[in-house]
């Protein structure tokens, strides 16, 4: 089986690759957004702690 055949996917390429691509994209996005949420939460907590420090 040639590489071209593989990408052709028996004529279903137009549906199959978007489907796989989309799922991979969503999986990557989920990891990225979760990590961003964590970083965001850490930053917010640090800010809060610093505010408390300056107040006391």
């Amino acid at each position: 089986m040639s590489l071209a055949d593989f990408f052709y996917m028996g004529g279903y390429a137009a549906y199959l690759w978007p489907a796989f691509g989309l799922v991979v994209l969503v999986l990557v996005y989920n990891v990225w957004s979760a990590r961003r949420a964590l970083a965001e939460a850490r930053r917010a907590a640090a800010r809060r702690l610093q505010m408390e420090e300056t107040r006391s």
Partner: protein, 242 residues
């Protein structure tokens, strides 16, 4: 046992243990998903009816299973949070919702992409797809309710009630949609029970990969939730190295 449980549920401990556990979920998840993709796209033979088009199955079905499983976990966590007033359980429910919603979205989108060559239309009012769509609405309602309540404790408890009402309704919705659908058209797609083993294993690999992936992402989100809810400054300061 109980004492161990309490220790695990205390924020500093949980935060550290979660941090240690994430790679143990994340890397195997990556391996299993890659193996599943290779198996599904290359090794598995083409279906004798649908040809290579059936390969969408390898992302569609695991996504659909995950979308329901995550809702179940979310509702269970919500119930635990309501009954035992456990903050960590509420955090699990909160962190699960976006992941579950994205799995639902994947199941819908891949179902539609599969439907176009099989049925000739992008959207068919098929029982499974319709239930999946309503499930997406339930997720979106949950997320919307949570984001519109400012007080985190109230948001936790209100969304937990909604998750429980939703989980009781889910089977009713599913069976009513199946019943409705059977009146209007025959059975659709194909029957995964009739698959051979070499067609099946990549799907299982994908499914387990997705489960571990969910675990990894959940733990990252949980760490964020734990920090957001934490008011005890001492360990936070230490953790953030301030």
């Amino acid at each position: 046992m109980w004492k161990w449980f309490h220790m695990l549920a205390s924020p500093p401990h949980f935060y550290r243990i979660a941090g240690l556990t994430i790679p143990w979920f994340g890397w195997p998840a990556l391996v299993l998903i890659l193996v599943g993709l290779y198996g599904g796209l290359v090794l598995a033979p083409a279906d004798y009816q649908q040809g290579d088009g059936f390969r969408i199955f390898y992302v569609h079905v695991p996504s659909a299973i995950m979308s329901m499983m995550v809702y179940g976990i979310m509702a269970t966590a919500a119930a635990i949070g309501l009954i035992w007033r456990m903050k960590l359980a509420h955090a699990v429910a909160a962190a699960s919702a976006p992941i579950g919603a994205w799995f639902t979205f994947c199941a819908l989108a891949t179902g539609s992409l599969w439907g176009k060559p099989m049925w000739g239309t992008w959207w068919e009012w098929d029982a499974r797809l319709t239930s999946e769509l309503i499930l997406l609405f339930l997720y979106l309602g949950y997320i919307a309710l949570r984001s519109s309540i400012e007080d985190p404790q109230r948001a936790d408890r209100a969304s937990a009630v909604l998750a429980l009402v939703g989980v009781i309704n889910l089977p009713i919705i599913h069976y009513s949609v199946v019943w409705w659908n059977s009146l209007h058209q025959g059975s659709t797609m194909f029957n995964p029970g009739a698959m051979s083993i070499e067609m099946k294993w990549p799907a299982l690999s994908m499914l387990f990969g997705f489960m571990l992936y969910y675990g990894a992402v959940l733990f990252v989100r949980l760490r964020a939730e734990v920090i957001r809810r934490e008011r005890n400054a001492a360990w936070l300061r230490q953790e953030l190295a301030l």
